[in-house]
């Protein structure tokens, strides 16, 4: 009987050697381990043998059976691995090829800067308010303490639509409209398009402004410095040096212009800052009591601060844009960079 086992082993070895496919291996498996295989019949016939021979032969036959099982599994596993590798190789994937990219548009830089600034102020409890772009002289000038023939009208080259209607030269009229509509305290931000009839290398006849107004019982000039310091540090970084210079706007008093340390040269002086190391970025001040009176607030009861900045200017400094006209040319080579 043990010779029989040896014979099976020899034959199996030869078959295994010649197997080339998984299918071959399954056939070998069934030939040597199947119900009708010689080994199975041999194991089945063990019960007819005498006890001691049964034990001896039994262990040999069972050892052979498990050995054959293991060897077939190993061979199968090896065969499967080879097949997978062949399949992968056959597909020849070069994953360094670029992916399929869905087209992605970009936001206009003016929108980006506007959203950034409005986010800062809505975070501080300011409401964002809109108003008409074609305004009445009253809201754009008179109510803001710029009566007819006031020399400050020279600061605004105004487009007129009729004697009394004009393209707003700043978004300040929205402040007046809001004060007429709402009672203090008030915290509003007015972004939008404004117009001046001026067109050269550094001016476009339309540009964007953001103005802020805060009215309460006790707002001081030092508060104005604090609020704008928050804005500038959020926009240009905590390290940015800031200076407030006296200036003049008919609707604020005291008025100031705010300079930041030049973002191009870090204050050493360059072409962008005309060698001064400083860049003017916004105008501000405490609300002139006359404006409160014109808007129907009691200047004895309320105080306020106001500020205004040009969005394009901030965008030019933030993104290093050197020509304001690029904003309105809408060249894709420009737009796609934002």
């Amino acid at each position: 009987m043990r010779d029989e086992c040896a014979a099976i082993r020899d034959e199996f070895d030869a078959d295994l050697q010649s197997a080339v496919s998984e299918n071959d291996l399954y056939q070998i498996k069934s030939k040597y381990l199947g119900r009708s295989s010689r080994l199975t019949s041999l194991i089945k016939s063990l019960k007819d043998l005498p006890a001691e021979e049964r034990a001896l032969t039994g262990s040999t036959a069972n050892a052979l059976k498990s050995s054959l099982q293991r060897e077939i599994e190993t061979a199968l596993e090896a065969m499967r691995l080879t097949r997978k590798e062949q399949a992968i190789a056959a597909r020849a994937l070069d994953i360094t090829l670029p992916g399929r990219r869905p087209a992605l548009g970009t936001l206009h830089p003016v929108t980006r800067v506007t959203e950034k600034i409005t986010a800062i102020f809505t975070g501080l409890g300011f409401s964002v308010v809109d108003g008409p772009e074609i305004e009445l002289d009253f809201f754009n000038f008179e109510a803001l303490n710029i009566p007819k023939d006031h020399p400050a009208r020279d600061m605004h080259d105004t487009f007129y639509v009729s004697g009394e209607q004009l393209l707003r030269t700043h978004t300040s009229p929205v402040q007046i409209r809001t004060m007429q509509r709402m009672q203090p305290p008030l915290r509003i931000l007015c972004p939008g398009k404004v117009y001046r009839c001026d067109s050269d290398i550094s001016h476009t006849p339309m540009f964007h402004q953001i103005e802020g107004l805060m009215v309460d019982t006790h707002v001081s000039f030092s508060d104005l410095k604090g609020l704008l310091t928050i804005l500038i540090h959020r926009l240009f970084g905590q390290e940015t040096a800031i200076r407030f210079r006296p200036s003049y706007f008919p609707f604020t008093e005291p008025s100031a212009e705010v300079d930041i340390q030049c973002v191009m040269c870090r204050g050493n002086g360059c072409r962008v800052c005309s060698g001064t190391g400083w860049l003017e970025i916004l105008g501000c001040g405490l609300v002139n009591p006359v404006v409160f009176k014109n808007a129907g607030y009691d200047p004895e009861e309320v105080t306020g601060l106001a500020f205004g900045l040009g969005v394009e200017r901030i965008a030019m400094l933030t993104y290093g844009i050197n020509d304001i006209r690029l904003f309105y040319e809408n060249d894709l080579r420009f737009l796609s960079q934002f």
Binding site: G226, L227, N330, R333
Partner: protein, 802 residues
């Protein structure tokens, strides 16, 4: 304003470096825009003595000169007739550069070496261009730099003066301010009163008929006038401050204007009739010729200076052609008057004239500065020996303007407003430097009287600003407002705008922003018909150009311009743009309404050809799909597209109206190829323009959850053949109307016509999803519904299975 530092130092003993002054001025409200050094432009020009001058051997009009410059002699070829031995003149050495770009080099002129150029005063920009080379004082030392020899050096600051500080539009005004900033005394000279000269009373009588516009009129006379060029120092000062030298008398009036800020006008007395000056308002449509030989039709109320017979000057703006100073003038009347700012501003604007004088009157001059200005002018006439000035000054001031009243100032308010803790003494001290008189009227209460030249100071807040300025804005601390929390007002338009931008950029559209103005021709290019509201845009009264003369009534035109720009400048193969902006409409009643629009455009290849995808031109379904995504993203549910647009610029068969609820929200479609070609587009252009406010109105912010089925879904495809006349929308509507709760979803997955499909028919294939909320569906159940659906489509649409 241009400020000469040397001129300034005549009135304030300022010793700090110019850079320090510029910084101090900038930080106190007088922004210094530039600092120019006068002098370096003559760096290579020196005093030279012509030692010998000989005829050029080969040129009739040239001389060859031997020129001595202290240590050496140069040979210089010259063409000036006045060159002669012994003449001291200016020599430009090699390296000297002139404003016209000429740079002096060693050269040969007609075979003769020339080591420089002898200069005329015109070439050196130092005065009258009367030909010939400069003839210098014989006492000057050869070899000295010309700038030093003639004392030409100076520093000029360009200062931006805010409109409220017209009192600083003069050397004295700035000196006063600078003295205050540095706490130095202001040194005003006392001018010697000229002796003799004609007495005013015998010469003229003044009659002010418009006292509101002209409350004060002063005048002085000078006789025996000799019109001549001004001395070099005066010419240089005027030119450094941006004025051209004319002659001694005109220069004196300009010099006083720059120094005192008070415009003067010189009349030729002999041309004034009737020994009379009448100040009156112009009669309606009165005409007047100014000295620049322009005839104006005057606006009503324009203030005129007249003699007994006729107008002689446009008050405060410009003199008349036939009373101005000439070479023959013997006696002059110098006018120094106060004209009300509003009157001058209105006339100046109406006539479009701006002069040095009108700019100062418009902003206001010091009513107490009229006489000092005349005194300065007559003193200069005497100094320059330009004539015999009278000691006498005529002062017609019938109703003196009230002196400024004291302003009550509370120390507590000053400190509360600024966030400072100043004492009453410090405040008074700051104000005293500005010539404001302060009296303590009680504890913490001050009464402050501003000087007459500070007519901008009227209320307490004006005083507070001055205190802040003098104390320095940098001394004010940084604090943060302490205010109650509040909930900001919602701004739906901006909220929806932000979401729409996010959705559209994610769909590949880039945002553009265009001018609100437009070329009116664009409207006809878009075939906007004359009965369309958009055809009659809001017009600007003063446009920059015809191409920007009307306000946009559609945003699409701008997008097409953007497309054209990118095609021309950039040859871009594809682009997708959108813009959210206002358009402006006129109602039939003439009221202007602003409407926010969302417009978009897509053109060209949807994908660039890549290894993975073949590119293809965008079609109408690309832009329609974008709109669907946008609407779905905004959770707008009740929308539908209706076939055919009313826009003449769209192809009728390839356009639609977007309706939301009962409203037409906008139009979408393919641009007429002729119009596309007009904008240089070779492939189809697809556009949309929507009323943004309607999107906002239907925008749904609210989200709610509906439970979904956990049971398996069954998918069935249904390929139908229908008549061509039946639209996909009809089939979809039929599917919608097939009310069966187990038919959960469906979409069109195939569309086909031609080929095996009979003529007049088309095939649409639907993928149907059946699912139950409470059990697993059996095939038999699904088959039953499927058959029922098919039967219903057969009946409704005559559909057959493919």
């Amino acid at each position: 304003m241009l400020l000469s530092i040397r001129w300034l130092r005549e009135f304030v003993a300022l010793e700090v470096p110019v850079q320090d002054l510029a910084h101090r001025l900038t930080m106190s409200g007088f922004e210094v825009e530039s600092i120019s050094e006068i002098g370096p432009q003559w760096d290579h020009i020196i005093v030279a003595e012509v030692q010998a001058s000989a005829q050029h051997p080969d040129a009739d009009k040239l001389t060859v000169n031997s020129v001595y410059t202290g240590t050496q002699t140069h040979q210089v070829v010259c063409g000036a007739p006045n060159v002669r031995a012994g003449l001291k003149t200016a020599l430009a050495l090699p390296g000297a550069a002139f404003p016209d770009g000429l740079v002096i080099k060693r050269s040969k002129i007609r075979g003769q070496a020339s080591e420089g150029m002898l200069c005329s005063s015109a070439e050196l920009c130092i005065g009258d261009p009367d030909g010939g080379i400069l003839e210098l004082d014989g006492r000057l030392t050869p070899g000295t730099l010309l700038a030093d020899a003639l004392d030409l050096r100076d520093t000029v600051l360009d200062i931006s003066i805010t409109p409220n500080r017209a009192d600083c539009l003069s050397v004295i005004g700035m000196a006063r301010e600078i003295a205050a900033l540095y706490d130095l005394p202001l040194q005003l000279p006392v001018y010697a009163t000229p002796q003799g000269g004609p007495a005013c009373a015998d010469m003229i009588a003044v009659d002010i008929q418009a006292p509101d516009a002209c409350p004060r009129y002063c005048a002085a006379f000078a006789g025996d006038i000799i019109i001549a060029p001004s001395p070099l120092w005066m010419r240089r000062r005027l030119e450094n401050c941006g004025m051209r030298s004319i002659n001694n008398i005109v220069d004196i009036t300009n010099y006083v204007l720059l120094e005192w800020g008070q415009p003067l006008h010189a009349f030729d007395y002999s041309l004034l009739r009737g020994k009379k000056i009448v100040v009156r308002a112009a009669r309606s449509a009165e005409r007047f010729t100014t000295l620049d030989n322009t005839t104006h039709t005057l606006p009503a109320g324009a203030l005129m200076i007249c003699d007994a017979e006729q107008p002689r000057a446009l008050a405060g703006i410009m003199g008349g052609l036939d009373s101005s100073i000439t070479r023959e003038t013997n006696t002059i009347l110098l006018e120094s008057a106060y004209f009300k700012p509003g009157s001058i501003a209105a006339t100046g604007r109406a006539l479009g004239i701006k002069t040095e004088a009108s700019q100062r009157f418009e902003k206001g001059v010091d009513i107490n500065g009229l006489i000092p200005a005349l005194q300065r002018a007559t003193a200069l006439i005497a100094d320059l020996k330009a004539g015999r000035a009278a000691s006498d000054i005529l002062d017609h001031y019938p109703a003196p303007i009230e002196a400024p009243r004291p302003i009550e100032v509370s120390v507590a308010t000053v400190n509360k407003t600024l966030g400072l803790t100043l004492t009453a003494e410090t405040i008074a001290c700051h104000l005293a430097r500005l010539h404001m008189h302060t009296v303590a009227t009680g504890p913490g209460a001050l009464a402050v009287t501003p000087p007459s030249h500070r007519y901008d100071i009227k209320t307490q807040i004006d005083i507070i600003e001055e205190v802040a300025r003098l104390n320095g804005y940098d001394t004010i601390p940084v604090t943060y407002p302490v205010v109650p929390l509040c909930s900001p007002e919602r701004n739906i338009t901006r909220e929806v705008g932000e979401q729409a931008r996010t959705l559209l950029t994610a769909a590949g559209f880039s945002e553009v922003i265009n001018y609100s103005f437009q070329d009116p021709n664009l409207l006809s290019a878009l075939r906007i018909s004359s009965d369309d509201m958009r055809s009659d845009p809001v017009r600007l009264l003063n446009p920059l150009s015809a191409a920007q003369s009307v306000m946009r009534t559609t945003v699409l035109g701008s997008l097409l311009n953007n497309l054209q720009h990118n095609l021309r400048a950039n040859r871009c193969p594809a682009c997708s743009f959108f813009e959210i902006s206002n358009v402006f409409m006129k109602t039939p009643e003439g009221t202007i309404i602003e409407k926010r629009m969302l417009a978009g455009l897509t053109y060209g290849m949807q994908y660039t050809d890549t290894w993975a995808l073949a590119g293809r031109d965008a079609d109408i379904f690309d832009i329609k799909g974008c709109l669907e995504t946008l609407l779905n993203g905004l959770r707008i549910v009740s929308y539908r597209f209706e076939t055919g647009s009313t826009e003449a610029f769209l192809i009728p068969q390839s356009s639609m109206r977007l309706c939301i609820g009962d409203t037409v929200c906008g139009q979408c479609g393919t641009l007429d190829p002729e119009i596309a070609e007009f904008f240089d587009a070779a492939s189809p252009v697809h556009v949309f323009e929507l009323d943004f406010n309607i999107l906002c109105a239907y925008y749904v912010d609210h989200r709610s959850y509906t439970p979904f089925s956990r049971y398996p879904a069954v998918q069935r495809d249904l390929a139908l053949v229908i008549d061509k006349t039946i639209s996909a929308a009809d089939v979809c509507a039929a599917l919608d109307s097939f009310k069966n709760s187990l038919l959960k979803q469906w979409h069109i997955f195939d569309f086909y016509q031609g080929g095996s499909i009979p003529a007049g028919k088309k095939s649409i294939a639907f993928r149907l999803i059946f699912q139950s909320d409470d059990r697993t569906l059996t095939d038999a159940e699904v088959n039953k519904i499927h058959d029922k659906l098919l039967a219903s489509l057969r009946v409704q649409l005559g559909a057959e299975l493919r």
